[in-house]
Amino acid sequence: MQQFIQNLAEKNQHQVTHLLEILREIQARYHHIPADAIEQLALLLKIPRTQIISVVEFYSFFTDSPRGQYELLISDSITDHMLGKKNLMEYIVSKLKVGVGGVRSDGLVSLDNTSCSGMCDQGPAGLVNGHALTHLDRSRIDTIAELINQQIPLADWPAEFFQVDDNIHKPGLLLSQGIVHGQALKKAMARGLKATLQEIDQSGLRGRGGAGFKTAMKWQFCSEEAENERYVVCNADEGEPGTFKDRVLLNSYAHQVFEGMTLCAAIIGAKQGFLYLRGEYLHLVDKLQSVLDERRQFGLLGNNILDRLDFDIEIRLGAGAYICGEESALIESLEGKAGIPRNRPPYPVSQGYLGKPTVVNNVETFYAAAAIAVNGGDWFASVGTAKSKGSKILSICGDCARPGIYEYPFGTTMQKILTDCGAEDVLGLQIGGPSGTFISNQEFDRKLAFEDLATGGSFIVFNNSRNILDIAHNFTHFFAHESCGFCTPCRVGTSLLRQQLDKIVDGHGSAGDVVALEELCQLVKTHSHCGLGQTAANPVLTTLERYPELYQSQLKLISYEPGFDLDAALETARRMANRDDAGAHLAQTDAE
């Protein structure tokens, strides 16, 4: 192992910023991060061991105790559940003879849940040693169990198990006309960089990652900073459950995304860019590397791009942490640390990666910017609404006949979208993912727009067979699992929220518990440090607002019930006293 780690450190030039890369390789080889590896790395990288431990313990894909040689993770998105995940998981447990969270006694396989893996249109999905598995069903599990028992290397598993489809059903403004490689850069140089920034401003392009900040303004601010080192970062963390459009853009339109990044570099004056790719998209890495190589060969990346510019792009992988989509947490992660959101100000445009001015944009933002550089601002601005220009690429999943990728002009109604994707008997939909909004079937005349229903791309359809509380429950657990734990209101609040909602959903709630739930929601929303905590209560708040009677009907008629089961709490005492008679049991309440 010593030699392996030594080589790894050398390969990464002993750079602390590459800590995640190094740990990813150690995990892949040893299926955990051995304590000795941490000791050795601390010496090699000249950092305290605690810094490495805190990274290992932060990211879901790193473990300090050994996992199986085949690390199997099953996606826990609501859409996986709608496709029968619970049942399937029980089957996996019985077939592979390993419990959820456990490692089989022969050490061959381990099993666990993982947050949405970004395959909602082709689930139930999972990951094996980091590689995406799609369309899981009983027959595939049977085969997988055999493959594992015979210790067949992943490379020899059936290729269709790993097949990831684009499923583009409705191309629009951007997807229907790609640009020729290099065209955006050439046009920008010919037009002039200032004038090109003007075009992007004119286009009205706003960030596609969710917050909707004006892209031209971000680039302008960054370029005005008095520093000579700047960075461009493409946010491909795509962790919001139900979002998978960046995966498709990177699979089939990576050239245009990288061109958008290079354009940004030219405008702000950056020499180095990063694509921060979520670990779940490991399957894309080789392909993306070859696109980068191609661009270097075409003279569109590297030194002397079009005789004007030096700029290169490095791909960095995440390791299972939704919070790393938040731009300042992402930057921390790029620096080799736990993904904890920074205090702002300063904003990344003035102090980002390594303290230098940094533009962080979503994949789709760069993709659109490249097209705008070619076609001009007016072309883009002629589509959409007054406040939301252009089009939005949606990833649609859930209860519809044709899940996949759809592109619409801003201003399109929900009804139109639902009809296109073949959704019937709809109860409601979740737009913007768990951090977004639930809307009921009374609101389908509402519009896709920053000023009405904004979304980073997630669009999940629920039909009338679904239970609203199951949805709120799944999302609320997601946030509690993904909270980074930095600030009190979110660290403690999301766990309290999970408990309080579980209490109500499990039928242990009593009068006052819904009020307490709402009060807690407001507290977490108002006081949390970053967008995760500020939106973690949305699943409860937006459903509670629309279906208050549903929550109330879960409550018992008594005025107070303790948060725990009295009788169950006596179990240990009963065991110790070896009693199980009536006198050793307590009724929860006699008010019923």
């Binding site: 304590a35 000791e39 305290p48 061991r49 605690t50 810094q51 431990i53 805190s54 313990e57 932060f58 990211y59 942490a321 736990a338 205090n343 100000p345 509690a480 699992h481 993904e482 909270s483 980074c484 734990g485 930095f486 600030c487 009190t488 209101p489 660290r491 403690v492 609040g493 999301t494 766990s495 309290l496 408990q499 507290l523 108002t526 006081h527 949390s528 440090h529 948060g563 725990f564």
Partner: protein
Amino acid sequence: MTKTITIDGNAIPFEDGQTIMDAATAAGVYIPHLCHHPEYTPHGSCKLCTVRVNGRVCSACTFPAAEGQDVLNNTKDLNDDRQKITQMLFVEGNHFCPSCEKTGNCQLQAVAYYLNMLDDHFPHFYAHREMDASHHDVLIDHNRCIFCTLCVRASQQKDGKDVFAISGRGINKHLIVNSKSGQLKDTDLEASDQAAHICPTGAILIKRTGYTVPIGERIYDHKQIDEVSLASEAEDHG
């Protein structure tokens, strides 16, 4: 001409580079806080110092003071919320004040008194946390850690060491120490280090000194935390 902000309607002078907390403390205005200490880089994690700046919720300890800010601090709404945030800290760990050596000297307890906290409000987590009594002079009781990182910062910024760190994610956050064994005795911590004395709660204690000052004569036994805090911190902020 000095620049000013207003806090609860009163004009408060500030200098460029000061946070709202700095300006308030220098002017004798108390804003509740736990993870903030004037000698260390602000952290902004406990959220006790939450104020409203022109309507927007901000952490006073990290937010830069700027001309035109109308800050709300000592309002019923904010203090109610601060009380609930304090209650969150109480239920997250295991704080049995009557049996804690730190009682009366504890800032968490004192802030709770200041905010008129009379119960825990939320259900307890009953987290299972360990003690580390391995070190000859210093004890860690993880039950009382609120992850303020003051010990982490003090060790780095004052002692020139790296004894402590916060690890884990979400509700699994925990304090770790820098030794191969994971035990405090194998770190280079000394009882004279600032890091051993900075803890606002009873999570890091110096051994054999717990009752040198009797209960009843301790820092917060007769004074509220606002008075104590301003008296000791106003200097540093000035």
